[in-house]
Amino acid sequence: MLPPPRWSTLSLRSKGLFVVALPVLPLAIFWSLTAVALARREAPPNTAGPNMAVQSALARVFSVLLDADAGARDYLLTDNADALTRYEQAVARLPREMAALDEGLSGAHMRALHNELRTAVDDELAILDRIARGHSPPTPWIPERVALDRSAANLSHIRGLTTVMQERLVGVAAIRAFQTEVAGSVLVWILLIGSLVCTGAGFAAAIVVAGGLSRRISILARNADRLARGEALHAPPLGEDEIGQLDRRFREASRLLRSREAELRARTAELEATNRELEAFSYSVSHDLRAPLRAIDGFTELLESEYQRTLDDAGRDALGRVRRAAQRMGTLIDELLNLSRLTRADLTREPIDLTETVASIIDDVSRHHPPRPIEVRIEPGLSVEADPHLVRIALHNLIDNAWKYTARSARPRIEIGASPNGTTKVFHVRDNGVGFDMQYAGKLFGAFQRLHTERDFEGSGIGLAIVQRIVNRHGGRIWAESAIDAGAAFHFTLEPAPPEGP
């Protein structure tokens, strides 16, 4: 035998059907009960017709017999032929009435009464026949008087019989009427109780099912909250129906989320470890590489000063080159460390007056270069929300480059400004210096990449790498346009591009 399906495993559809079916089932029972009651209530009118017909048939049988008796009696006394005709007509009507009576009667007792009546009627007909026929050839052995008396007695007996039958018929009708009335009130009760029971069953089912549903849905809602906060989900599962399925999906999502989170944590830890290693590396570069350089520079100087007399020009030149190389390498290491520090430094955005910043940078840069007339155009009212320290370093590098590369221009000019591109502000630093070949634009922002020989323009080759890194850390973009001897322009943004793309 199959175990009955558990309530929790039923689908919501089945539960809904159950809620509807629960009041319908008793409703069906009460409908059938009502139908039975109605059937019983409609039965009496069907029997009332025959009952009335039997009653009138009884009355008619008796009156026909009275007519027949009167006709026979008149004929006997008056010899009137009309009286004989009335008698014969009455007798002729009798079988039809008796047949009608016979048809309408039911019940064993009534049958018995009817048989007795039939016998009495047959007797009466025989008596009357003798009275009527005895008149023309008078019957010697039955004097007319006696016959008349017997007829009167027999009629009286018949009257008694019909009366009994009548009363019985009336009694049956009364009982039927009573029964009909009782059936009616039972019907009312059935309907009343039935509707109450159905309503109650409906309410009970709705409360049970809806209560369960709302409780489980609120658990589901709490689980959704926990899912959003990344907490563990409420422990017991929520059954097998649609809500249960949703609950399972939530659990799966939560499990997935947690495993992803763990993965992410592991990866973050890995990255942090790598970062620490990198920091340790840059620290060791800072400390360990500079010490030998210091020794190279220091002892070369010693050679230069203490052994001046034993060195010839070529030897002194060689020592000079060694010292310059060592110092340059020191600068490169410092720049490299600056670059790595820029990547690690925190970025804090605040509103900056760029016009003022640029003016201060120009002042700074001009002090570090031999004085020469340069036309500088700074757009008034330049502003941006960015990291002031980093932006200053970036602009310093760009402006210093412009300063450097306009050294050979007849009328050197540097322009700093901005133009809108959609919602993004694009800043630019433009000069009319030597420029560069756009063919090498791709190498422009790489560390230690140089497009000019050191003899022409000194520099570590790391300045633009620093600028690009600062721009990238702001989520911006930097690009350059130039041609040889036609100046260069560096464009950059300091905010992420809008999601629509460039």
């Binding site: 620290y283 800072s286 010490a291 070369t300 100087e301 020191g330």
Partner: protein, 149 residues
């Protein structure tokens, strides 16, 4: 080894090249003072805290951070924790350019923090500025000693 002024300098340095360069820089700066040398942190602590009797403290200590055995920062902490050397001028002289080292040094009571430059010329100037400054002070401050002469 103590010269007539009674002023001396303790250089704590493990790198022989740096040691040689420092001595040369002193010479170039005409700082003819008594220069003592400790080759690691524990030797420096022995000289400063383990000294017996009336051996005088140096006027200034030039302390490297990256040292064998006991590192410079620990030496600094021990010196500041000891009443005899709590006020002894200590200049941190290091290759490091890290902000954390600078902050840690000053937090632990360094009087100055100097990064060793790569250029020997710059190094000579640096030595003149820091060692010369401390050595030119008339008196090493001793706890309880209020004399200014």
């Amino acid at each position: 080894m103590t010269d007539s002024s009674g002023k001396s300098l303790l250089l704590v340095e493990d790198n022989t090249d740096d040691l040689e360069l420092a001595l040369r820089a002193f010479k170039l700066n005409n700082l003819p003072h008594d220069v003592q040398i400790a080759r690691d942190g524990s030797e420096a602590l022995d000289r400063l805290l383990g000294r017996t009797g009336s051996a005088p403290l140096p006027t200034v200590v030039l302390l490297d951070l990256n040292l064998p055995k006991v590192d410079g920062l620990t030496v600094l902490k021990r010196l500041r924790a000891d009443a005899r050397t709590a006020l002894l001028p200590v200049v941190i002289l290091t290759s490091s350019s890290e902000q954390v080292d600078l902050v840690a040094s000053y937090r632990n009571g360094a009087n100055s923090f100097v990064r060793k430059p790569v250029s020997f010329g710059d190094f000579v100037v640096t030595m003149r500025r820091i060692a010369g400054y401390w050595l030119s002070l008339n008196q090493t401050p001793e706890p309880g000693d209020t004399s200014t002469n």
